[in-house]
């Protein structure tokens, strides 16, 4: 196999990964624009956009591997960070949506002695000496949390 064929194969691999990543990016953003409800809109970018960024980052790794001859680790850092934070972000957004769209009695039971923690009264004027929770009937023992 000659070197021209190898260079052509490497370029084709990088170009195909860039195209696949861009396709997934635009699918995720289009789903964010066009899907009807917020839960469906939540699923489109959190899956497709991370796939798209993953494809583009792998393309970048392969490109710098082919041009410079060594593997750069920055892309792996970005990939790891995005893949770690995408589920956390989706979870927080879904929880905020539940909190804003439904009243407290409509939400499913938690199956624990305490209810949904986000409906607890806000510690508006906490005493720095006695912790963040205000004193009074809201204070619950620590073993039930």
């Amino acid at each position: 196999m000659t070197s021209e064929v190898l260079i052509f194969l490497g370029e084709a691999l990088v170009a195909a990964l860039i195209l696949a990543g861009s396709f997934f990016m635009i699918v995720g953003s289009f789903g964010l624009l066009r899907l009807p409800t917020l839960m469906q809109r939540l699923h489109a970018p959190t899956k497709a956009t991370t796939l798209g960024v993953g494809g583009i980052l792998i393309a970048s790794m392969l490109f710098f591997l082919f041009t410079n001859g060594w593997v750069s680790v920055h892309e792996l850092l970005i990939t790891l960070f995005l893949f770690l934070t995408a589920p956390v972000t989706a979870y927080m957004l879904a929880k905020a949506h539940l909190h804003r769209a439904k009243a407290e009695p409509e939400l499913p039971p938690t199956g624990r002695p305490v209810g949904w923690a986000t409906f607890d009264p806000v510690a508006s004027d906490p005493d720095p000496d006695s912790g963040l929770r205000p004193a009074g009937e809201d204070q619950r023992p620590l073993d039930t949390i």
Partner: protein, 89 residues
């Protein structure tokens, strides 16, 4: 071949950014706008990576990593504010 793929990639990710901006403008709820901002950040990271490939330099990775971190922290702070009315209690 890579140059053509890069142009198509720039066009696609830019169009995705415009879609996110339209959702940010329309978004019936604040959660929609937070989600649109989060997707906008991911699109920006992809654009910076494509720019790094196009210029064949490795100096854009730190910027991409910083933007990804700021986007995550910002989205979580927005969600905490919508949940509790306060970011750090």
């Amino acid at each position: 071949m890579i140059a053509v793929a890069l142009w198509i990639g720039f066009a696609a990710v830019g169009l995705g950014t415009i879609f996110c901006l339209i959702r940010l403008w329309l978004g019936p709820d604040a959660v929609d706008r937070a989600l649109a901002l989060d997707t906008l950040v991911v699109n920006a990271v992809a654009l910076i990576m494509l720019l790094g490939i196009a210029q064949a330099t490795a100096i854009h990775f730190e910027a991409a990593l910083l933007i990804a971190m700021l986007g995550f922290v910002g989205t979580v702070a927005f969600c905490k504010f919508m949940l509790r009315g306060d970011v750090i209690e």
